[in-house]
Amino acid sequence: MMNNHVLTPEIEEWRETIRQYALDASLDFFEVIYELVDYDEMNMIAAYGGFPNRYPHWRWGMQFEGLQKQYSYGLSKIYELVTNNDPCYAYLMRCNPLVDQKLVMAHVYGHSDFFKNNCWFSQTNRKMIDTISNHAVKIRRHIDEQGLEVVEEFIDLCLSIEHLIDMYSPYFSGSEHRSEEDKDQERLDANGSRFKLKPYMEEFVNPPEVLAREKEQILNKIEEVDNFPSEPQRDVLHFLLHHGQLKSWQRNVLSIIREEAYYFAPQGMTKIMNEGWASFWHSKMMTTKILDSSELIDYADHHSGTLGSNPGMLNPYKLGIEMYRDIQERWDSGRHGSEWDSCQDAHGRTDWDKAEGRGLEKIFEVRRTHNDITFIDEFLTEEFCEQHKMFTYKFDRQQGQYVLDDRGFPEIKNQLLEQLSNCGRPRICVESGNYGNRGELLLKHDWSGTSLRMDYARRVLENLEKIWGRPVHLETIIDGKTKIFGYNGSRHEERTGS
């Protein structure tokens, strides 16, 4: 079976060559293992989110059918598929011509370098292929014990809140951000082993009744603290894991979904940078080294296919690659810093060249430390927006369609940052686990100008109620008014909050 996936000698030769070019370009990547697959295998792996083994769930099947349909109608096909793992796994479509295989391989080395070096990926599990297979085994076991429908239904519930994690929490290790459970555990442990003594002394120095009393006190204290999170908690899944009324298998399923959500989060946080970086390098390597003159047209066609954008839409590949190029040029010519910012002379600006030559160094630095938000915040310039004819659009209710809104730089930047923050999802946190002193859950939508889709939100509340086991509430702002939506297992209610 595996033999089918081995590269042909021709591709293998190119792989070796491209790998060397990538090393020469000082890319520092996890070793990449390429496999040659047919389109349905490709679609299958893509449907599984890039992993060959995942827990059974109908949504993979749904994604698979969608991909198959799109492919067979010629609407889209997947060019590259790469998994953040050490070693990296990447898949090449068997039916692609050689020039595409070269392009994809060059592109993938860019991704692999990004996975390895970008700091936002630093906390991800690099043996995720194994971990995810283990998750599949565990969930299969739950299915054997509990029955398919029960487990599947619970997975559906969990998936509806899988994005409610605190994406930034993995990057803090201060005591403040330790999980509450760890803190509880520490308190208990500290109590039990206060004095290390010879066993026969134990009873006298640490009388059991005193220990029991102290333990009870601590437990009481924990309870007090834990009645609701001391501060709003972004990691809703964590809160549910530790305070929800869950059976042990349910807790396990939820923790698996949470772990996978944390693993995938950095990919959402660095979409523009990651794709831009890979495209930057494939384009550089292809045009300067790899490309045979006979392949030029095909390459140009496919390259522009990936980078092209629908009229009016923004393509992350395109935005990314152009930003890197812009940064490289600016740091090559020294167009940055306070001197550049304060220069008002149009001629002076066009002819500006300090021959700094630090462009390449700078983009390597950028790819190490930034994520999409900081990337846009720091490097998007007015000139860049003008040059690339960027604009913001909004929905015009009278015309019933989207219209071009503004070409101003601050608006564009704000809109982009807004769109990128929290990966374009609403920020939701747990406000209270004992709302109204009735053990009910209160979530709060940290409103930032855009309202929630309430039909979806209501369905999420229904799901959440099943997980929490008690009524649940969501506080949000609709049409400028604070509203609290609640669901108690049979009925929705809506109140205007204070």
Binding site: L159, L404, H445, T450, V460
Partner: protein, 383 residues
């Protein structure tokens, strides 16, 4: 228990390699099937599936199969784009659906799932607990079919079997020492030649003819015709899954009857009086001319609002039915669609005349919601 077992339609089904994703894909199909079944009544009464019919595939819109999450209402969100244009220029692309809530939720994504007609028939069968049809006289209807089954030493050149011929030639040359590996020339002679040979098999075949007859007199309006159209689509779907060879004929009648194509059948303007016997006469002629009752399973469906010209004609109809149409057919189905003008007398006459005849199935369809029960009445007997 009316268990519906899948019928192997194509005996030589391709053996598929089992892929890892198949259990998940199957699970998804199963959920889709469940959803369609759950909403079958809605799909049937709204008739929206009809508009989405391809050749063998129906695309079914499925709301609410996706997993809900907290998300933004899209219209509030806006975004950043790239390209030419003045401020205020429409972007095109996503258009909001017209209607009272124009622009509230544009580009609504509804999952469309392709379902084969066979699958749809199965779902219908399961939901209505339709029994499988026992074809009438299936063993008496034989079809001759020729299959290539073996190899012969003689035959026409057009059936020459190259591989076998050369294999034999090679075998002969090696055996007789004529084969030279240095110069591997294989020349068949007459004795080496092999030909495909065939056998004639007779297979039992099940043919079915559906005759749709519709009253297009002045009292049958658009709504009535829509009901007929939806009902006939589902009847077609079910019978197609039961018979390998299905023919459909359409007859419209007012005071006169005409044989028409399906488009005319459903779109013709209504006018004139009503003489039902004209349609029955035409159906009778059609059967006698083209479809011998001994070879065909015949299903006449007649839809009308039950308003006939007069007692004389009704008497004539009953006679036609008793003498010819009913003996010819597996079942005779009469659906009476309620209209504002019809008296609804005809179904009563039929009921009086054929109260004990199992082959006559009558149903009154007062609204779209009654289409499903009516299908059940017609097809629930399994004949």
């Amino acid at each position: 228990m009316h268990a519906v077992t899948p019928r192997p339609k194509n005996k030589y089904r391709k053996v598929k390699v089992v892929r890892k994703i198949d259990p998940d894909a199957n699970r998804f199909r199963k959920i889709v099937r469940g959803k369609i079944r759950e909403n079958l009544k809605k799909y049937v009464s709204q008739g929206e599936i009809l508009a989405r019919q391809g050749k063998n595939i129906v695309s079914v819109p499925l709301p609410q199969i996706d997993i809900p999450d907290f998300r933004f209402g899209h219209t509030d969100q806006g975004g950043v784009g790239q390209g030419e244009g003045e401020e205020g220029k429409p972007l095109g692309g996503e258009q909001a659906p017209p209607g009272p809530q124009a622009g509230d939720q544009p580009g609504e994504h509804i999952l469309e799932v392709d379902v084969t007609i066979d699958e749809l028939a199965d779902i219908l069968g399961e939901e209505l607990e339709l029994p499988r049809i026992e074809p009438r006289g299936s063993d008496s209807i034989q079809v001759e079919k020729q299959c290539y089954t073996g190899i012969n030493r003689t035959g026409p050149d057009s059936l020459r079997h190259f591989r076998r011929t050369f294999k034999n030639a090679l075998r002969r040359q090696i055996a007789s020492g004529l084969y030279d590996p240095e110069n591997p020339r294989v020349v068949p002679i007459r004795e080496d030649r092999r030909y495909r040979s065939w056998k004639t098999k007779s297979l039992p075949q099940s043919n079915a003819l559906i005759i749709y007859m519709m009253d297009v007199s002045g009292s049958m309006g658009n709504e009535q015709k829509d009901i007929v159209r939806i009902e006939s689509f589902w009847i077609d779907t079910w019978l197609k899954s039961q018979y390998e060879n299905l023919e459909t004929r359409y007859i419209i009648h007012d005071a006169q009857a005409k044989l028409v194509d399906s488009h005319t059948f459903f779109h013709v303007r209504e006018s004139g009086g009503t003489k039902i016997s004209s349609a029955y006469n035409l159906a009778k002629e059609l059967i006698l001319k083209e479809f011998s009752p001994s070879e065909w399973n015949i299903y006449p469906f007649h839809f009308s609002d039950g308003d006939n010209w007069g007692g004389d004609d009704t008497a004539q109809c009953l006679e036609l039915l008793r003498e010819t149409l009913i003996p010819f057919s597996n079942v005779f189905c009469y659906g009476q669609v309620k209209s504002a003008y019809g008296s609804g007398q005809f179904i009563k006459d039929l009921r009086d005349a054929f109260a004990t005849d199992e082959k006559v199935l009558l149903s009154e369809i007062n609204s779209r919601d009654e289409i499903l029960p009516s299908i059940k009445t017609f097809l629930g007997k399994g004949r």
